[in-house]
Amino acid sequence: MKRYNIRIAGVGGQGVVTSAHILGNAMSAAGKYATLVPFFGSEKRMAPVEAYVRVSDQPIYEVGEVVYPNVIMIYHPQVITHGKSYTMPFYSGLKENGLVIINTDVDIIPEEDWNILKELNTRVYMFPATKIALDIAGTELATNMAMIGLFFGITRIVGFEHIEQAVRERFLGNTFVASGGTTALDSAIEKKFKKKMELLEKNMQVIREAFKIAEERGWVEEEALTG
């Protein structure tokens, strides 16, 4: 049985909760299963934000935060370097044979942490999600798209059209409010792009690029995970 229990850690303003919803909706569009739980306090820019998503091709009953993940996605290097996280160290609870995706230009994992990750037989993938977002979409607000793009690019659990449907729903469909700040962010980014369609296209380009990276670097896997 395939089951990914994902913990996403990032900072306020990066679209952690929004991308968790897109992950879940992409699974739903593919006729598969997902549950998601956001977690934030009085959120503000650059304060820790986490979201938890469980995805599977089987029904999922579990609720609440993912304490023992087999996938960890780090949206901002400061989660690790400044400890901006609800869960310290960043890999706490990580199960054996798990997957860690980190948005960073350089290796930021201290040696003793590397030892633990190796002992747990973890696959660690680092890639510059923010840089890709800036290069392709012209805004670091698309960092979250690069991150979920890479996750789906590695795992291939849904088709590209399902991701597109979920992104389209998010930006063109029913108004969805992850938090109070989302509305302000949305209008800021809409002004930037003038047209929602353009925004949608840029986001999809970022996701496509992440897919390509997963392929080029030989990270694609379609192994069943249990946990």
Partner: protein
């Protein structure tokens, strides 16, 4: 809004076609209200809250309800619900944590006033210290109020229980309120699949004359207490009336059971009835228990689940039967007092097989791994942990 047509209650609950949507628990509750032909909803949206009353406000604006207003605070909201229902309306409200406790004096008087209403209880911690997470200790405060208490595991349950509760609470031989409880946040703010009846069908309106106590008739005891309390006439009369009515309220509570069988498939659900170790749980803990059964199957262990849907009336007989051959019973809970473990222990003759826990409090998450630890202990299995915590 689509033009809604009234359909037979049994048809709507048991036979009507259903469409699957991926929605939050708060949306599921509002969608049930949308189909329940509700006359009035009265809100006092404190924080911590769910989006339920906000979404019900939205559907009132769309024309699904006749009236909606925000009360001055929870005591006022729950008192106004009593007034609206005594006046013949079908009413709904929802609250959580401190809000439930603030309204509790009025809520606890509903059964005695024969108020058939539905109250959403989206659990949050009871202070202090303040937290906004979904501890469910507040359900313990409802257990002895006479209210029927249902505990939903997920978004689907929230929809089903809420819609059915409007029907069950208005049955003449029940006619007391129903609290539909679920964990805030874990269910209200999270999305899941929900199979829903069509938007253009709704329940028949409430018939206030089909009642054990005619509406606003102030001459028939005990409804007369609305106008002049019996204690003002005679202390002797007042305690007799009270005693008789207490019996009647709790009998009504028990009489709700046959409708829980009819509309919700019974007060419990048993997974793997031949198991030697059982997890007994309600609400979100049942979801975690279901997952524990899956983990156990992967490891070849014989573990089952008894999900308790109805906390009041409490299904003593059913639980006793389901656990008659169990070697150990694990009761995971989202509160420190272990109110469900106490009920389970009292329901079976060999209560020493009940493990009260794992319990998390303050609204923390309840990892399945904690339930597995108790299962390993019960089966005498030693495990070497390989996760970093």
């Amino acid at each position: 809004m689509p033009e809604q047509r009234v359909v037979d209650a049994d048809y709507l609950l048991l036979e009507a076609p259903r469409e699957r949507k991926f929605i939050t628990g708060a949306q599921a509750m509002a969608e049930a209200v949308k189909r329940a032909n509700v006359d009035i909803a009265i809100a006092y949206p404190i924080t911590p809250q769910s989006e339920v009353m906000h979404l019900v406000g939205d559907i009132w604006a769309q024309g699904y309800l006749k009236d909606y207003y925000r009360a001055e605070e929870e005591y006022g909201a729950m008192s106004a619900i009593a007034g609206a229902v005594r006046g013949g309306a079908r009413a709904f409200s929802a609250t959580s944590g401190p809000g439930l406790l603030r309204g509790l004096e009025a809520i606890a008087s509903w059964p005695g006033h024969r108020i058939p209403a539905v109250l959403g209880v989206l659990t949050r911690v009871v202070n202090a210290p303040l937290s906004i997470q979904p501890d469910n200790v507040e359900i313990a405060y409802l257990l002895h109020s006479g209210v029927v208490v249902l505990h939903a595991e997920n978004q689907q349950d929230v929809f089903d229980f809420t819609l059915a509760s409007f029907v069950i609470s208005e049955k003449v031989d029940v006619y007391i309120p129903i609290a539909v409880c679920t964990e805030g946040f874990f269910v209200t703010h999270a999305k899941g699949y929900v199979n829903m009846t069509p938007e253009d069908m709704k329940l028949p309106p409430r018939d206030p004359y089909k009642a054990p106590v005619p509406p606003t008739d102030c001459e028939i005891p005990p409804a007369r207490i609305q106008r002049d309390a019996p204690v003002q006439k005679s202390n002797f009369m007042s305690y007799l009336i009270h005693a008789v009515w207490q019996q009647e309220v709790w009998s009504s509570n028990i009489r709700a059971m046959k409708y829980i069988y009819k509309y919700l498939g019974g007060p419990i659900e048993v997974v793997n009835p031949e198991a030697e170790v059982f997890v007994v749980a309600s609400g979100c803990a049942a979801a975690q228990g279901r997952e524990a059964v899956r983990y156990a199957q992967l490891e070849g262990l014989n573990v089952g689940l008894v999900k308790v849907k109805s906390i009041r009336p409490f299904p003593e007989k059913e639980i006793r039967q389901a656990l008659s051959r169990a070697k150990a019973v694990i009761v995971p809970e989202h509160n420190i007092v272990g109110w469900l473990a106490k009920e389970v222990k009292a329901a079976i003759p060999n209560s020493d097989i009940v493990v009260g826990g794992p319990r998390v409090y303050g609204g923390m998450t309840l990892p399945v791994e904690l339930i597995m630890e108790k299962i390993y202990n019960a089966l005498g299995i030693k495990k070497e942990k390989k996760v970093v915590v």
